[in-house]
């Protein structure tokens, strides 16, 4: 570099006069190409996602919206009759829809709340120095890796009325047999148990990751101040985990809103009714029943969009809460 510039600067010979600007132009072009590259190639890299999203996410979403404004049957999906908002307005007076919404909510609460509390506890325990901690960390994740179908089928047996293990255990301590599948609360509790079992470890690992990011000095100084383990948990761990807890709460809520596999299989042969009294039919199941059992695609689409709107609502509430939280933390 150095020799090059010294050679070029003192003696600008006439012959070279034309090449200097040309080289500069070349450099400029190259740098412009470089800048263009830097600027645009990331877009090229992310296009596959957006192309796939448009094809498999956005288009179905919009098409579902379009279908929800029509009367369409699965027996002839191309025959659409415009009905405007009728599919939505009838949802308002549809007992089965409200029942499903209520069930989704109660099962959601019954599964999300214990799930997150247990996860928090497990994460706290895993955060201690343990022998074979890796083993335990992997072990809590195994239920998450099990397929919903397999897990649910096992739980159906466990919650059997006549020969189930849960009732057998209840019998040992002197309780009557519970008809888990046919009761209102009992069936919802059973379904929630499956969800809790599957997702607790997953959430525990998220909490554990967040806990390990909490600076150790905080605990040390708390210990110096004479705080017990429990006090440390309540006054150091929990506040530091607040954003993480919010995140898992939102993710679990979304998961609960879409709950489908567990209640479907909990009623194995009977399909999507969610029990004889629709006692554990969730929104997801009702959508499936309308679309794929009763074959009314238009009505199913309307339910799908109603669920989408509910999720948006949850998102908005979450935004408000986290906004408040952040304000609370800075002030």
């Amino acid at each position: 570099m150095a020799s090059d510039t010294t050679a070029a600067v003192p003696s600008p010979s006439p012959g070279q006069e034309g090449t200097a600007p040309a080289r500069a132009r070349g450099e400029e072009r190259r740098s412009r190409r470089y800048r263009r590259d830097v600027r645009w190639s990331p877009y090229a890299f992310i296009t596959p996602f957006f192309v796939f999203f448009a094809a498999f996410g956005l288009f179905p979403l919009l098409y579902t919206g379009w279908a929800s404004l029509h009367q369409v049957e699965l027996t002839s999906p191309n025959d659409m009759t415009w009905v405007g908002l009728r599919n939505f307005s009838r949802l308002l007076s549809d007992d089965f829809f409200w029942n499903a919404l209520r069930n989704t909510f109660t099962i959601g609460v019954l599964s999300t709340v214990p799930q997150l509390l247990i996860a928090l506890g497990i994460a706290h325990l895993l955060n201690y120095r343990l022998r074979a901690s890796m083993f335990f960390r992997v072990a809590v994740l195994t239920p998450y890796a099990t397929s919903v179908a397999a897990a649910t089928l096992v739980f159906v047996l466990l919650f059997g009325r006549d020969y189930g293990m849960v009732n057998w255990a209840l019998g040992l301590v002197g309780f009557d047999h519970v008809d888990w599948q046919n009761g209102g609360w009992s069936s919802q509790l059973a379904v929630s148990t499956i969800v809790v079992w599957r997702w607790t470890g997953y959430n525990a690992l998220i909490y554990l990751a967040a806990m390990q990011a909490v600076p150790a000095d905080l605990y040390e100084s708390a210990a110096l101040d004479g705080a017990s383990r429990w006090q440390q948990f309540v006054h150091v761990t929990i506040p530091s985990l607040r954003p993480t807890i919010l995140f898992t709460a939102v993710v679990s809520t979304i998961g609960a809103t879409q709950l489908f596999g567990e209640p479907l299989l909990f009623n194995g042969a009977a399909g999507a009714t969610g029990g004889s009294d629709h006692q554990f039919q969730t929104l997801g199941l009702y959508l499936y029943e309308q679309g794929w059992v009763n074959l009314h695609l238009g009505r199913a689409s309307a339910i799908a969009w109603a669920m989408f709107l509910i999720l948006l609502l949850i998102g908005a509430v979450n935004w408000l809460v986290s906004h408040k939280l952040r304000k609370g933390m800075t002030s």
Binding site: G160, D162, Q181, A269, G271, D277
Partner: protein
Amino acid sequence: MRTRTRISRRLAALAAVAALGTGLLAGCAADGKDPGGGSSAQGGGGGAKTTLTVGVFGAFGLKEAGLYDAYMKLHPDIEIKQTSIERNENYYPQLLTHLGSGSGLADIQAVEVSNIAEVTATQSGKLEDLSKVSGVNKDDFLPWKWAEATTKDSKTVGLGTDIGPTGICYRKDLFAKAGLPTDREAVGKLWAGDWNKYLAVGRQYKAKAPAGAAFVDSASGVLNSITGSSATRYYDADGKVVYKSNPAVKQAWDTATAFAADGLTAKLQQFQPTWDQGFANASFATVSCPAWMLGYIQDKAGAAGKDQWDVAAAPKPSNWGGSFLTVPSASQHKAEAAKLAAWLTAPAQQAVLFEKRGSFPSAKAAYGLPAVAGAKHAYFGNAPIGQIFAQAAEGTPVQFLGPKDQIIQQNLTDIGMLQVEQKGKSPQQGWDAAVKAIDNALDQ
């Protein structure tokens, strides 16, 4: 450090997207390849082979009985491939979407009896007329089976495979303990001709029954077989929904709920794990059993139930279940596929299917064949099942099936009857709940 983790995170994300993408593409490719395609290549013989695909649900039995192999031996230029989806409730909606789009279809598609009325009514334009294919003989089939897949303008879109003529399977040991006869002839006579006699036997049984063994598995099973024995059920001859006003349905409902009200049932739901456990633990003495259920009972009741189970004629001839083969017009090998379907449903092959798999023939021409006429079931005390079920099959009335037959039936049993049986609601409450669910389902 920081940039490196960011880059690796980017890479990981990219890899994830790529993996997803290829997964999707692979999915598409596999989907598109299925239907007509794939000639030659596989055959070692050199000549171009026609590959016919058969789409079925569950363990349909055609392949397992060796029928495909036999056909390929007869026709060296044909190769048969089967795709199977485990459950019909997943198979059927997919079949409808494929028919709607005219792609993704196999050359032959199986249709379950509970869907055949809807397929015949709404999809006949997309299916081939199989009545005039060489080798198909209308008179071979039971008239009611033939009628089920035939449109008003005499287009036959499906050829019957098996049917489900129904008997009553019963446990000899429990019958003996309750002081009832155990011989299958005598047992059949106890209730011959009237479902209410079946109920009366149940009451007689209960008076002396051993503890923990109910008379019948479920009230829904009773409802199923009673409604399966009447000519009009949920639809009338003009295709109108009449289940609310049809006296036959009312009677069936009353009889079946009487079983529940009198505590004659084990309060089980069929095809649930608890039902299987009921077989294993002998917690009920009788069950309405279509021919195809015998193997199921043998499986679930196991070695302990051998020589305890037997089968007698049902009070009235009734049918539950059975399937059809159809050929979509979108198939690229319609002619060959129709020939194959005709061969698979011919009496001789139906007899083989019965012999190997226990699926009872819908071709009455097969009933005289030794494989059927002489069939005995070792597990069921060597019961002459060929004769028992052939009699039921021939006595079953021509029933008017409607497009939403299955939905009506399922809501009556899984909503209405279950509420009465398991939740202790009154018959009227159960009926109202079922009607409400059916109205919601039928209303578009």
